[in-house]
């Protein structure tokens, strides 16, 4: 039945031969295009503005590491921030000038929160740094990918995923088909359309490079049939590259989504838990491909992009805009806004978001800015209850059950929402578009997604905390065991040594005395030996003093007792050495006494503090009751501390 209807509709629409072999995906909607607004004028180059504000967060992944300081003079194309970590992208100076600030400023993000930005004051010279074009045909692919890492190029279709990751060979899967995403399905946006019309030949050269990097066999350009000029231009240019074809896909939102486009042009549906590279397909946006071409051929990093400014501006147009250009500059270039403009939308009307303020810069993600008026974008009528009509399920291009996801998200039943594959939702907004009850479905999914993500992060943190806590307890236990073992060993050895050393010492001393008597005129060697012995004795005395100063260190006391105390008294024929020893023994005794006093003091102090200090350090595993009392004590103190802190802050 379905096939009959499809056949009939095809007959009615009179589809061309080119579109006949596309594979339609499920769902999708036909929002009003509004594309002709901004395609009447060619792409214009926007002049360098007074000030450029470059947010560090312009891509998906880790924020890059700043390489410049305030006051530095930088040249156009010089790296300002370096990619840090795997998924990250560098940021370059869009023009020459001076870094005037590295501070927080509002970034174009739905949160409207400020984030780190580099502010650049252009000097007007627009002086390039030394560029290094690459002979990519005769270079190692790994080196090319590595150099792409410092290019700052990210997916310019709006997802801003760092490009160097996408061309990296992961060793698992071999890419055989490169799909160029030129569908540009969102209403109002025309930047890719204009780019293809005007720079098709450069795009083709970029495709050649990417094809080479990926080792792909063929290349398919997917363009929606509402861009006839672009189709002609690209078809013409594609003749220069073998195994490359332009595939015209019917206009249906969201055919510009990567997986939808792959389905359209190849008929392959990628399993939800797999990536497109697992089936040998990689997707690149046209503008990204062009940026890659410019990087390898001219050495130019990502410093600008084409932005559509449309909606209620006086002359909607596409501009080549430097990253960091204030939105106001772009609006002025488009002839200013009409008086009833209420707010600005970044991205398309389906997936974009309302900009929190007009004081935001153009970033790598900004493919389109729409000046909105209440006429163009009427505030949504109040949401009515869901009537389970399942129109959203019919429209969902990912074959989800949006109405179920809505129920689960609304009632915070996140586990269930996850089970219904909430994370496969591409937030395209088709469900919201068709909902007869005007329920903002995508907003619910976004809410549920961010709640789940933050809960997952909290769980990860909790697991880490548990691991660290368990490790700590184990360590304390181990240290205790080691200490006990050491004590036991020392006790045993000191007993044995006590007995041994006493006999040994007396013999030694006797031998020494007789030796001294035999050779009264001491030879140089015995002199040296004596000197050494004296020096050693002095050193020992010093060490003892130090030990006495540090009462905690009780290591070498038993030996002292064993070695030095017994022999001092009945030796009438005392040598110099023994005099020193006798003195030292006195000192030893004093030091011992001092140390003992110190220790006693320390113990008293510890006993006094025992009630308040967290003693669970010392005893990790005794009866729970003891620990409870300790914790109670800690909490008591914590309460007091908080109280005093509060009263302090009140005062």
């Amino acid at each position: 039945m379905n096939s009959i209807i499809q056949f009939a509709s095809r007959l009615i629409r009179g589809q061309t031969a080119e579109t006949a072999d596309v594979h339609k995906f499920h769902g999708g909607v036909h929002p009003e295009g509004h594309k002709q607004l901004s395609t009447t004028l060619p792409i214009a180059k926007l002049a360098i503005p007074q000030k450029l504000v470059l947010p560090l967060r312009q891509h998906v992944g880790y924020i890059p590491k700043i390489k410049v300081q305030v006051g530095d003079h930088v040249l156009k194309g010089q790296m300002l921030a370096e990619a840090e970590g795997n998924v990250s992208a560098a940021i370059h100076a869009p023009t020459s000038g001076t870094v005037s600030a590295i501070s927080e400023a509002v970034i174009p993000h739905p949160s409207g929160l400020p984030d780190m930005c580099i502010t650049l004051m252009p000097d007007g010279k627009d002086e390039w740094t030394t560029l290094q074009p690459t002979d990519w045909r005769n270079s190692d692919k790994k080196a090319l990918v590595a150099s792409l890492r410092s290019s700052g190029i990210v997916g310019l279709g709006g997802a801003t995923f760092p490009t160097h990751i996408k061309v990296r060979a992961d060793g698992k899967s071999q890419v055989h088909t490169l799909v160029i995403n030129a569908a540009e399905c969102e209403p109002y946006i025309t930047c890719d359309d204009m780019l293809m019309r005007e720079r098709a030949h450069e795009i083709i050269k970029g495709m050649e490079i990417v094809k080479y990097l990926l080792n792909a066999e063929k290349c398919i350009v997917g363009i929606e049939d509402n861009k006839p000029e672009a189709i002609v231009a690209m078809s013409e240019a594609c003749k220069a590259l073998p195994d490359t074809s332009v595939k015209v896909v019917p206009t249906l939102y969201p055919s510009g989504d990567g997986r939808r486009l792959i389905h359209l042009v190849s008929g392959i549906e990628i399993p939800h838990d797999k990536r497109s590279t697992d089936v040998g397909i990689q997707v690149f946006n046209v503008a990204t491909v062009l940026a890659i071409y410019r990087y390898f051929t001219f050495g130019e990093p990502a410093i600008d992009r084409i932005v559509t400014i449309t909606g209620s501006v006086n002359t909607p147009q596409n501009f080549e805009v430097l990253f960091g250009t204030p939105l106001q500059t772009l609006i002025d270039a488009a002839g200013g806004v009409q008086p009833d403009t209420s707010h600005f939308i970044m991205g398309g009307p389906m997936m974009g978001f309302d900009l929190p303020t007009i004081d935001v810069p153009i970033t790598k993600a900004a493919n389109c800015i729409i000046a909105a008026t209440p006429d163009l974008f009427a505030p949504p009528p109040p949401a009515m209850p869901c009537i389970r009509c399942a129109r959203c399920a019919d429209a969902c291009p990912v074959n989800l059950q949006p109405q179920e996801l809505y129920w689960f998200s609304k009632s915070d039943n996140f586990e269930k929402a996850r089970d219904y594959n909430l994370f496969d939702c591409i937030e395209c907004g088709c469900c919201t578009y068709v909902c007869p009850s005007n329920i903002p479905l995508v907003q619910y999914y976004r809410y549920a997604k961010s709640e789940i993500i933050s809960a997952d992060k909290a769980k990860e943190a909790a697991d880490l905390a548990r691991e660290r806590n368990e490790f700590r307890l184990a360590r304390i236990e181990r240290e205790k065991m080691e200490r006990a073992q050491k004590h036991a060993e020392r006790a045993a050895s000191s007993k044995a040594e006590n007995a041994k050393t006493e006999t040994a010492k007396t013999e030694e001393v006797k031998a020494e005395v007789t030796g001294a008597a035999e050779r009264p005129a001491a030879s140089t060697s015995t002199d040296d030996a004596k000197k050494a012995a004296i020096a050693a004795a002095i050193e020992r005395a010093k060490a003892l003093k130090a030990a006495a100063a540090q009462p905690g260190d009780t290591q070498n006391r038993p030996e002292l007792k064993a070695a030095d105390t017994p022999k001092t008294i009945d030796k009438p024929a005392q040598t110099e050495d023994e005099q020193v020893r006798a003195e030292q023994a006195k000192k030893d005794k004093q030091a011992l006494i001092a140390a003992a006093i110190e220790r006693a003091k320390a113990q008293k102090l510890a006993a006094a503090q025992a009630g308040v200090t967290p003693k669970n350090v010392e005893d990790a595993s005794p009866a729970v009751k003891a620990e409870i009392s300790e914790i109670d004590a800690i909490r008591e103190k914590a309460k007091q501390a908080v109280k005093t802190h509060d009263s302090d802050s009140e005062a």
Binding site: R57, I107, H109, P110, S111, L113, D115, P382, A383, P440, Q443, Y444, R446, Y447, K449, S450, E451, S454, K457, A458, A461, A462, D463, L464, A465, R466, R468, N469, E470, F471, R472, V612, T613, P614, N616, V617, V624, E627, I628, E630, I631, D632, I634, R635, K637, A638, Q640, A641, V642, T644, H645
Partner: protein, 189 residues
């Protein structure tokens, strides 16, 4: 009659042996209930529940010694999850054990710190870095916000700082429909 008896006896014997062997073969080490309770607890190791850490509290719950509503950092959701797991009635958090606070991390004022190491000894997750007579600092990403380091500090240089909202940890809000004030005469605009 006797055959039936023998069959039943034989069956009972065979099943008994199988059960006995499988009980030995598939013996579960440790208490799985404690692990499951522990997985719900937030692992702040703050001791507000009255036990010296999350694991001891989990053991006490498993034994039936402790109630499910003694964990303020776990919040209401935690108490609900515990009630679910234990098959008991949900109870609101017991205020005696403290109130839930926004998640925060400890911060050491490094100008005041004297390097006494007392906070290092108190930290249950080793999230404080430092040595005797050297400045200490908190590893913010590891800090659970348990506040156990506040009390031992002799110079009160540790404060708790709530985690600020950044574009990184920002969350989409629950969709709300703004309520508009109606004109006084009741007419719809």
């Amino acid at each position: 009659m006797l055959t039936a008896l023998y069959i039943m006896l034989g069956l009972a014997l065979a099943l008994g042996i199988t059960l006995g062997i499988s009980a030995l073969l598939f013996k579960v080490e440790g208490d799985p209930l404690v692990a499951r309770i522990d997985a719900i607890l937030p692992q702040t190791q703050c001791g507000q529940c009255g036990y010296p850490g999350c694991k001891p509290y989990a053991m006490a719950i498993a034994k039936g010694e402790a109630d499910i509503n003694q964990c303020p950092p776990g919040g209401d959701a935690g108490a609900r999850a515990l009630a679910d797991l234990m098959g008991v009635e949900y109870k609101p958090l017991n205020a005696e054990h403290g109130l839930p606070k926004p998640k925060s991390v400890a911060f050491i004022d490094e100008n005041t710190c004297i390097g006494c190491t007392l906070c290092i000894q108190a930290c249950p997750v080793d999230a404080i870095l430092g040595a005797a007579k050297h400045m200490h600092t908190i590893i913010a990403s590891e800090c659970t916000g348990c506040e156990l380091c506040l009390a031992p500090c002799p110079v009160d240089c540790i404060t708790m700082q709530p985690i600020a909202e950044t574009p990184d940890n920002w969350k989409w809000k629950y969709p709300v429909i703004p309520i508009k004030a109606m004109p006084a005469d009741g007419s719809l605009v």
